[in-house]
């Protein structure tokens, strides 16, 4: 089976000035999260879409899905976790309890605040996760990366050609991800906030899928303003 996990667990601490998590703010004429879910709904290869939100947003999310997308048996909204790993683990538990963990299933994990993901990126994720067991969506770094450990002076400037910026989706073989997350010590789990990092530290290959510069993450109020401007511009 192919699962999609839409990670909407965050409470948007970086968004500032608003009580509503950023995934529920409006982009164009719909909430950000609805735009994101739509990308997965029209992909008929995906068997189940698991949306993970804060507990007090489950009812709200269900209503949004019902209002904008309609009845869909393929979408389930469940509670996310404290951390990204906890949220991922909740999606794993849901899969384990309802479908069982098998060798062939894959899971596409995606930030709910990246509504501009393309059909091509999702397709490439499915292909790469099936073939390699794990993949990350990236774009080549365009800015020079500067390393400063003390925050005051530069320790090194790595060769930019070897650096990429991580986006999502990140996609995995379900069993591999399940086993790796379960194998983390509490200390590791606190440090390893990125699922691909868990794979690389456990010596598992993570394949690169090319993202898009348009696949931006709406993190700050500025991002949402920018995204709305771009969308309005296209609708003129």
């Amino acid at each position: 089976m192919i699962f999609a996990a839409i990670l909407a667990g965050g409470i948007g601490s970086r968004m500032g000035g608003t009580d509503t998590p950023k995934q529920f703010l409006t982009l164009g004429n719909k909430p950000v999260i609805v735009h994101t879910i739509e990308k997965f709904v029209i992909n008929e290869n995906i068997d189940k879409i698991i949306v993970l939100t804060p507990k007090n947003f489950i009812t709200h999310t269900n209503k949004l899905i019902n209002d904008y997308i309609g009845d869909s048996e393929n979408i389930i909204v469940i509670e996310g976790g404290e951390t990204r790993n906890d949220t991922l683990m909740n999606s794993m538990k849901y899969i384990e309890e309802n479908f069982g963990i098998d060798d062939d299933s894959i899971i596409i994990t995606h930030d709910s605040v990246r509504p501009f993901v393309t059909h091509r990126i999702i397709k490439d994720n499915i292909d790469a996760a099936r073939k390699y067991g794990a993949c990350d969506t990236v774009v080549p770094a365009t800015d020079t990366i500067v390393e400063s450990i003390n925050g005051e002076t530069i320790q090194s400037i790595p060769v930019r050609d070897y650096y990429y910026q991580g986006q999502t989706p990140q996609s995995f073989n379900v069993r591999k991800l399940f086993n790796l997350i379960n194998s983390l010590t509490e200390e590791e789990a606190n440090i390893l906030t990125d699922a691909c990092k868990i794979f690389t530290l456990k010596d598992e290959d993570v394949h690169l899928v090319m993202g898009e510069v348009t696949n931006i993450k709406i993190t700050y109020p500025y991002d949402l303003r920018l995204a709305n401007t771009i969308l309005e511009d296209s609708n003129d």
């Binding site: 029209i42 008929e44 509504p115 501009f116 059909h119 091509r120 771009i230």
Partner: protein
């Protein structure tokens, strides 16, 4: 739903743009696209400045096939391979929809096919049978233009069709000559061109001549002009010279310039001049059926596939247009992975 579209912003400059599509039609993921001269004229900036000013930014490409992702009506299933019809009627008319002012055309009046997904009405897609060569299928639209012209010609012509002349040794000349031979197997199809190396590829035709080397006593019953640009003038002049009375001249070649025609001889010979542009759903159905019934046609049409470019970045798209611009013959196919 949000969709990403790759538009030509200015000549030789593509950019990503964000668009929204409704999910009330057929949503197609493009797979193989094909560059047409019309796209190339936008890309090179050779259209008049006011046309570029009015139409850009716009996604180019109106020839292509894709895979159905979603169809609200259920008529098409996910994974169905379809050819997309660029002509989009927006109202009824007394004329054919490909000549109607009520129609919009992709890559001309609105966005073409270079995007992540394309939403079309279900009447704007035709399912392809299994096993169709995707690179050839990418330019089915161009074949339909020849096909609709030939269909119209067959309704118009009142004199015998013993000898049919095709002017132009490029892609459209090749396709028109090939489909004439298929439609009228008993007619002699003669090709008139400038480039010997191109003419040698027309092995299915009954004869070919370089335009400066035509026998004095040669006549033809009907003619198909597939030359275009300023060279249309000399082609039409030669056609009027060689054509028998009451013949039909079918014009296909697009020119940015007004072309003078020797109307005195058009009158004297009682000729019919028929213009041809674009195509409609019935032409797509006709071409798909013809190719299905005559799979040997693919062997000839494959000769037109001179470049296949995989597109994963906007720079790949630019390079493909540059490669295409440097090709004298054949089609540049875009394997769309953007």
């Amino acid at each position: 739903m949000i969709n990403i579209v790759y538009r030509l912003k200015a000549p030789k400059f593509f950019e990503e743009a964000i668009d929204e599509i409704e999910l009330d039609g057929v949503v197609v993921r493009p797979t193989y696209l094909s560059i047409c001269q019309a796209d190339q004229r936008y890309y090179q900036g050779s259209r008049p400045a006011e046309v570029l000013e009015e139409k850009l930014p716009m996604a180019l490409i109106h020839e292509g096939i894709g895979e159905v992702v979603h169809d609200a009506s259920g008529e098409f299933g996910p994974g169905d391979i379809v050819v997309m019809i660029p002509n989009t009627p927006l109202g009824e008319d007394v004329c054919r929809a490909n000549y109607s002012y009520n129609s919009k055309f992709r890559g001309s009046g609105f966005d073409g096919f270079t995007s992540d997904l394309i939403k079309l009405e279900s009447s704007r897609v035709v399912r392809l049978p299994d096993g169709f060569n995707p690179a050839v299928s990418a330019f089915i639209e161009l074949i339909t233009v020849a096909y609709q012209g030939i269909t119209k010609f067959s309704e118009l012509a009142i004199t015998p069709k013993d000898t049919l002349g095709v002017w132009g040794d490029g892609n459209l000349g090749f396709i028109t000559a090939l489909f004439l031979k298929e439609r009228f197997p008993d007619s002699k199809v003669i090709v008139f061109g400038k480039h010997l190396e191109n003419l040698n590829l027309f092995s299915f035709a009954d004869g070919n001549y370089q335009i400066h080397n035509v026998p004095d006593d040669l006549t033809i019953d009907h003619a198909f002009e597939c030359v275009g640009s300023s060279a249309s003038q000399s082609a039409i002049e030669q056609i009027i010279d060689l054509i028998n009375p009451q013949g039909v001249i079918s014009l296909f070649g697009v020119s940015e310039y007004p072309i003078p025609i020797n109307t005195r001889m058009v009158l004297e010979k009682g000729l019919t001049v028929q213009g041809n542009s674009r195509s409609e759903r019935e032409d797509f159905i006709g071409v798909v059926e013809t190719l299905k019934q005559n799979p040997q046609l693919f062997e000839y049409l494959e000769k037109l596939v001179t470049n296949v470019c995989e597109i994963t970045t906007l720079n790949d798209l630019k390079e493909a247009f540059d490669i295409d611009n440097n090709s004298n013959f054949g089609k540049t196919i875009l394997k769309w992975n953007k």
